[in-house]
Symmetry: C2
């Protein structure tokens, strides 16, 4: 798909991206490149930290889902990112903890003349018990047909 | 520094993180790991894209400054990240384009009993001409003395 077709792509559409599990090593590797705080990169020092264990960098689970699930579906329709909002880190993500990812289309603002639309995407990450781990809104400019 | 000292750390404090310049290769490498859209990773395809050239992934310049400038100063005081808000991507960042980074303390909500404070940091990234490239607010829970 190289452009969104607004006849079939609608507000309220939900994309279920299934479960993501981060290993200890993945948490450490991501944080070393991206967010090198000790409680993300050092298992021993993490035991002395607030959460008493290694936790994933807040953006990690979003980044993984964005890169491996969302971009393969929608990447070729993207003109550019516009905004990220209300990104809340509510619960820690530990190694080997399943996190469920879902993305919903909150709004679509099309510009028919310019053949693009600003789409507000709502990402929700939840535990097996349905508790919210993190959530964010991402506004992206897409090509439309 | 292992905790913020609220006698000296104040609302309105500004930290100037100087200029950051991303090379073409750095833009490509970052995007391959974190945001593999063609106009971030493929110079030839980028020429056909909206901006007619390779541009950096929106989060790239923030991530670099966060990792190489902010974390060395404040990383050991961090309990956890709470929120990211109003992250606007206003202008493209091309290779070899200097971007100036400044971080300001917008608010401090201390909890003296728990010895922590929620600090709202405002990041601003500007061109040599002072035009805003991107900006965001990051709310972080810090240890305090």
């Amino acid at each position: 798909m190289h452009a969104l077709d607004l006849n079939t792509f609608r507000v309220g559409d939900v994309f279920d991206f299934g479960e993501t599990v981060l290993s200890e090593q993945e948490i450490i590797d991501f944080a070393k490149s991206f967010d090198p705080l000790e409680f993300h990169t050092d298992k021993e020092k993490a035991k002395q930290s607030f959460f008493k264990n290694l936790i994933a960098s807040g953006p990690h689970v979003f980044n993984l889902v964005h890169r491996t699930k969302w971009i393969p579906l929608f990447g070729k329709t993207v003109i550019c990112g516009l905004e990220i909002n209300d990104w809340k880190f509510l619960k820690p993500v530990f190694a080997d903890m399943p996190v469920h990812a879902q993305v919903k289309v909150l709004s679509i603002k099309p510009n028919a003349e310019k053949k693009h639309a600003a789409v507000k995407w709502r990402y929700k990450f939840t535990t097996d018990n349905g508790e919210l781990v993190s959530a964010l809104n991402s506004v992206v400019l897409h090509k439309i047909v």
